[in-house]
């Protein structure tokens, strides 16, 4: 069966499931796929909606950039410095496993109400997986690559950019994929709890007044965006030509 047929079948199945659930629980609890798409269409036509999208995307872009650059740099550092890595790893893993929302009041106190708190909260979610994946990529790199770089008399910069970086790239991209979704999650949660703008704020406002179709429309949009970006990163991962 061609890939595309499989994907289409899965999509169709999800739609059927959605429609069935809608029929079971009623329109007051779950909007139908059709209602959701119509609502999303009407939302997309309003300027207010686009302002919210822009707000979320601004916070997300900043948070993702910080997670990406910071995570890869920190991961490489902790991978190269074995002792530092051994100390940091359990701390990072524990931080990663606690529900970060319990720390949100502290984030608000530190960063205030506004975009910086949302960015900080996004980074709290996205930085750690990217760091951990990058660190493990360095640690699991075959030692013979480094020795090969040495016997070919490469400079440190040549060895970093032409051997180590390509060697760890597939792992790093896996970390970035995970970090991408989690950063978006962090930003949205941040907006839901203390914000006057953004898609997260739209969601929580709709929840408060029971606008099921708005909740579903925003969720659908976010799902489409997240799945598309994830697929692109996955494609990039496969395109590397190895693994």
């Amino acid at each position: 069966m061609p890939r595309i047929t499989g994907t289409a079948l899965v999509l169709l199945f999800c739609l059927l499931l959605w429609q069935t659930l809608h029929l079971l629980v009623g329109a007051s609890s779950l909007a139908s796929p059709f209602q959701t798409v119509v609502k999303l269409g009407s939302l997309l036509a309003t300027a207010e909606f686009w302002q919210n999208v822009a707000e979320t995307m601004r916070a997300f872009a900043a948070a993702f950039l910080i997670s990406l650059v910071g995570g890869i740099a920190l991961g490489i550092l902790l991978g190269v410095r074995r002792l530092a890595g051994n100390v940091a790893e359990p701390i990072l893993v524990n931080l990663y496993s606690i529900p970060k929302v319990v720390l949100y009041p502290l984030v608000l106190l530190c960063f205030g109400l506004g975009i910086s708190a949302k960015i900080a909260f996004g980074v709290m979610h996205g930085l750690i997986p990217i760091t951990l994946f990058s660190m493990n990529a360095i640690r699991q790199m075959k030692p013979v690559y480094r020795r090969t770089a040495q016997v070919l008399r490469l400079t440190s910069a040549q060895s970093a950019f032409t051997v180590i970086l390509p060697a760890i790239l597939p792992e790093v991209i896996s970390g970035v994929r995970l970090g991408f979704s989690l950063t978006l999650l962090g930003v949205l949660i941040g907006e839901m709890f203390a914000s006057q703008r953004g898609l997260g704020f739209m969601l929580i406002s709709a929840i408060n007044i029971g606008q099921i179709d708005t909740i579903m429309a925003v969720a659908l949009l976010l799902t489409i965006v997240a799945v598309t970006c994830n697929s692109l990163l996955l494609l990039l991962n496969r395109r590397m030509g190895y693994r």
Partner: protein
């Protein structure tokens, strides 16, 4: 006259200059590792002279310091005592003119076969036309022409090791160090790769030091075999094989091959038994 000889072979990767007879010289080379549980005397003192163009193999029981010896010659590790010289100069860092092939697959999975082979030359900033010439030659020489555009993941273990040998070959090393390069390959592939290695050695005129645990490999390929003792590794015997320069894997059919292998095993057996009785093996 030398010019004519060089010109005649300019399509190959032969080395043009031919100075001093002693190519590699080790005197009292000793390596001690500082481990958390104390010092580990891994190697030496080792004395060794390699003639230019010689094919020399090292055999010894596992853990006897063979790879440590190779690391010192490659400039990847420094001896605590003694001197190691290549072409009359002490070995510091990785000397120019030394190529190394490791046991593990060191081909880069993100590069095609051709790019793998060209890798070292590109980093060294060599003229692209010259890179193309050398890579074409090495790829053809190692029988990789049909796989030039393939990636290592699409190749067998033996083919990947050919890629690594070709990558070393294009750098035109005057000393080639091989650390059990065929250790991970099956017996038939090993014999055939041995033939390739002999061909490469004849063609380039390079000095070769091969580390191996396979006595038949050492007996078949080498001009001379050094037998090492258990740790700390020192040479306890040197065996001259007396093969013609123009030889191949068919020497294993001769009675002389059996004699050499028997002599190597006679020396090595005692050392291997020591390891076994000490419970290290």
């Amino acid at each position: 006259m030398i010019g004519a000889a060089v010109k005649a072979r300019s399509d190959s990767l032969a080395i043009s200059e031919v100075p001093a007879a002693v190519h590699v010289r080790l005197r009292g080379v000793t390596r001690v590792f500082d481990l958390p549980k104390g010092k580990l005397h891994a190697l030496g003192p080792v004395d060794l002279d390699l003639g230019r163009g010689e094919f020399f193999s090292v055999v010894g029981p596992s853990g006897c310091g063979k790879s440590t010896l190779l690391d010192i010659l490659a400039g990847l590790s420094r001896p605590q005592a003694g001197v190691a010289e290549f072409e009359g100069a002490p070995i510091r860092d990785v000397p120019d003119g030394v190529g190394v092939v490791f046991q593990e697959d060191a081909s880069f999975p993100w590069l095609s076969v051709r790019d793998n082979v060209a890798f070292g030359l590109r980093r060294a900033g060599i003229d692209p036309a010259e890179i193309a010439r050398r890579v074409d030659y090495a790829v053809g020489f190692m029988g990789l022409r049909d796989f030039a555009a393939s990636y290592p993941a699409q190749l067998s273990g033996g083919m990947r090791q050919r890629v690594c040998i070709a990558r070393t070959l294009v750098m035109q090393p005057r000393l080639i160090l091989l650390d059990e390069p065929f250790g991970a390959l099956d017996q038939q592939t090993r014999l055939l790769m041995g033939d390739e290695l002999l061909r490469l050695w004849r063609e380039t005129g390079a000095t070769v030091l091969l580390i191996t645990h396979a006595l038949d490999e050492a007996a078949m390929l080498s001009d001379r075999v050094g037998v090492m003792s258990t740790r700390p590794g020192t040479f306890i015997d040197f065996v001259e094989t007396g093969w013609e320069r123009d030889r191949d894997s068919r020497v294993v059919l001769t009675p002389h091959f059996g004699d050499i292998t028997a002599r190597l095993w006679d020396k090595l057996r005692v050392e291997a038994l020591k390891i076994m009785s000490s419970g290290q093996a």
